[in-house]
Point group: C2
Chain length 170, copies 2
């Protein structure tokens, strides 16, 4: 059975949505989404970068549109592991576990991998929004569209723009 490695931030959890909300609240004005395209996440939100280190940040993230239905679809058909590079933010570990338990209760603790570097974790398909994770992966590389990767055009990646597209593809 095909093994899928599914990323959390930017794939299951909508980090942009949360950070944009925080920035808009602090600035008192609307952020132009078009200006985020092709720019590194942390460079466009310098004010919020430190918030990622706070207890509760990852627990507060909204769920990516369509991800509950989409992940359930994959989980019913394939071997699924959630693989998140969480170790850079040690305060996120418990948050991420509890967040998954709340929104994706069909994912068991046996299917969760919190790591720093994803290189030693192998599978057939990786769904991730970051090239640095996909580039070290030997299976099919699915690039989940997020503003920072929108300008990437490279046939080595299977671009998926939504969870609906993932369900159509597999």
């Amino acid at each position: 059975m095909k093994r899928f490695l599914v990323d959390m931030d930017g794939v299951l959890a909508d980090v942009y949505e949360r950070v944009i909300g925080m920035e808009e609240e602090a600035l008192g004005k609307t952020i132009d989404r078009a200006k985020l395209i092709g720019r590194k996440e942390l460079s466009v939100f310098p004010r919020s970068a430190h918030r990622l280190r706070e207890v509760g940040f990852f627990r507060s993230l909204p769920v990516m549109e369509g991800s509950i239905e989409g992940l359930k679809y994959l989980n019913d058909r394939y071997e699924v592991f959630i693989v998140s590079a969480a170790m850079e933010f040690p305060n996120s570990l418990q948050d991420k576990y509890e967040w998954l338990e709340e929104y994706f209760p069909f994912i068991t603790w046996k299917q969760i991998i919190l790591c720093g570097d994803k290189t030693p974790v192998v599978g057939d398909v990786m769904i991730d929004d970051h090239l640095w994770n996909l580039n070290r992966f030997l299976g099919q590389k699915c690039l989940f569209t997020q503003p920072h990767n929108m300008l990437v055009q490279d046939p080595q990646y299977t671009r998926v723009n939504s969870w609906k597209e993932i369900m159509e593809l597999f």
Copy 2:
């Protein structure tokens, strides 16, 4: 470079030492270590099994004899990842991160993997005290001696009785 996957509990962290101490304190008498040989960990300590779910339990574990020097030895020569099946005990996640940071500061966050099932994590050598982890691993299986596995005699496992032996072997 050879990649080592090193387990935490029963390899870097001395779980028996801690649990025996707790049991002896509760019982008010000394536990005969010989009676632990070949028996499953939790079956011999029914009184303490629930303690593993408490915040702080894994943070309080003593370091396995010789493991600091031994892991440093491996880390200086090979690619090392700490792979711990921590997800069954979500309260252990932050504890384990902080414990590693305190006793093994030469291990970076990029080298830590906390998971439920170790199957998708690949490498050349696994050092573990549990057969269920070693059996799904495709590289060299090093069985680190602990009371529960002392009766295992099977040539598929490279038995290592101490960190000193690991340093002699690699």
